[in-house]
Amino acid sequence: MNNGIALKSILNKEIQRFMRIWIQTLVPPAITISLYFIIFGSLIGSRIGEMGGFDYMSFIVPGLIMMSVITNSYSNVASSFFSAKWQRNVEEMLVAPVPNWVIVAGYVGGGMARGILVGLIVTLVALFFVDIHIHNIWVVIATVSLTSAVFALGGLINAIFAGSFDDISIIPTFILTPLTYLGGVFYSISLLPEFWQGVSKVNPIVYMVNAFRYGFLGVSDVSITTAFVVIGVFITILFTVAMTLISKGIGLRS
């Protein structure tokens, strides 16, 4: 059994899926982010002045790109895997000799692909509004890749437990969006009172946004090493949970 071919097939299927419905998957983030740039960057941002030593527009660009990556990585896997459960075509993989890690890696890879592609599109849109400087390209690549993996894994776990389409929108609405908005996308957490800075540091998205911002601007509210450790811990925990759930056939096998 060639696991590489099986992995490539799942990846192909996932990429073909979101490319087939590009109007639903790739265009909306570009429009949303354009609105953010116009409203928060140009209109309001021009009155805010500097943030973290940079003009406000430059400051929020990395956070907005990361917000798109997070949302799209998560929702791609959540909706694709749940849809495969709902239409029962997940059985195509379950009856085949595909190891569970290949299923997890295939779906996560698909989520990462969409997250990163949307990230690129948003970056291109941002170029219309602001000049982008990159401080450390490797930090940018590593952060975006690992963060998209974290949220793709989260989307997979959500889809495994989901019993209806409503269930795959609950976590993005009630957990993911608040954490993202409070994760330092629009502000530096150094502006917060000390207590709320401490509270913010419990939010994993703070580390991801700041690591990504460091890659672009060279400034961060948290240590980059700590940020990568936090991301690594989340990947390890979520991958283990996803593997356990699929191995036990939770929501998949009766």
Binding site: M1, N2, N3, I5, A6, K8, S9, I10, N12, K13, Q16, R17, R20, S83, A84, Q87, R88, N89, E91, E92, M93, L94, V95, A96, P97, V98, P99, G249, R253, S254
Partner: protein, 317 residues
Amino acid sequence: MQKALAISGLEKTYKGGFQALKGIDLIVEKGDFFALLGPNGAGKSTTIGVITSLVNKTAGTVKVFGYDIATDLEKAKSFLGLVPQEFNFNQFEPLMNILVNQAGYYGVERKVAVQRAEKYLKQLELWDKRHDAARMLSGGMKRRLMIARALMHEPQILILDEPTAGVDIEVRRAMWDFLRELNKQGITIILTTHYLEEAEMLCRNIAIINHGVIVENTDMKSLLAQLDIESFVFDLVPTHKPVQLNDVISRQIDDHTLEVDLTKKQSLNQVFAQLSAQQIEVLSMRNKSNRLEALFVGLINRPTLSKEQTEEVTNNE
């Protein structure tokens, strides 16, 4: 003969406490065309679910070409191709993608997969639809798509769960020819069906399952040999005379229809002779109904014993 499938003491109890399988033993030889028959809820689909690992078993063993699904699941899976009862493909995906991706899950190179997809789509008359989304297909086409998909990795065993349900007669017969051809090529075929005629036409061996227990497991010829009585329907030139036949059981349905029950020892000649003597002309004659149906109804209505009860009876004997 090599065992393609060996099931022993298979039990399945679902979460709600419903015991779908109560200790099934079954052997399917390599190259067989095997029918698994039973009424709705008998345990057919659960059995297939366990074999293909879509249902977790509660107890017992399942071996595919000697590989236990509990210890060598991936190897066992590689021999199996499944055509499920319900449509279970992505309705929005084009046919070609469905087939090529499925082959990929079994490690088949894309180039080979594309060639095979072309072969099976042409054989199953779906080639013109290869770029269409699966939801655009008719019911019969969707069934054929699932057969093509199950063959993409060239399995040794093809399992079909009610493959011709809801398919018109013409397509059904074409599918039968296709399955016969596959079997001739050496593929072991296991079929569940509601259509008893289908089992009789295609299968060499048969197991009948009811309430999670195998109530009969034999070859088709032996099963049919159990039938003592066969019913015939005679279409007559309309007659106002009552038809009277000696030594055979008969029923005159109306002025042009007569039903006759014959045992194996009785010949049709004596019926024709008696009808001729009464100057009654026969226009045509046919079997009243599927013979297997009568036997099937008899078997599933027979009180069934659980495995423990069967062992108890055997030990007492």
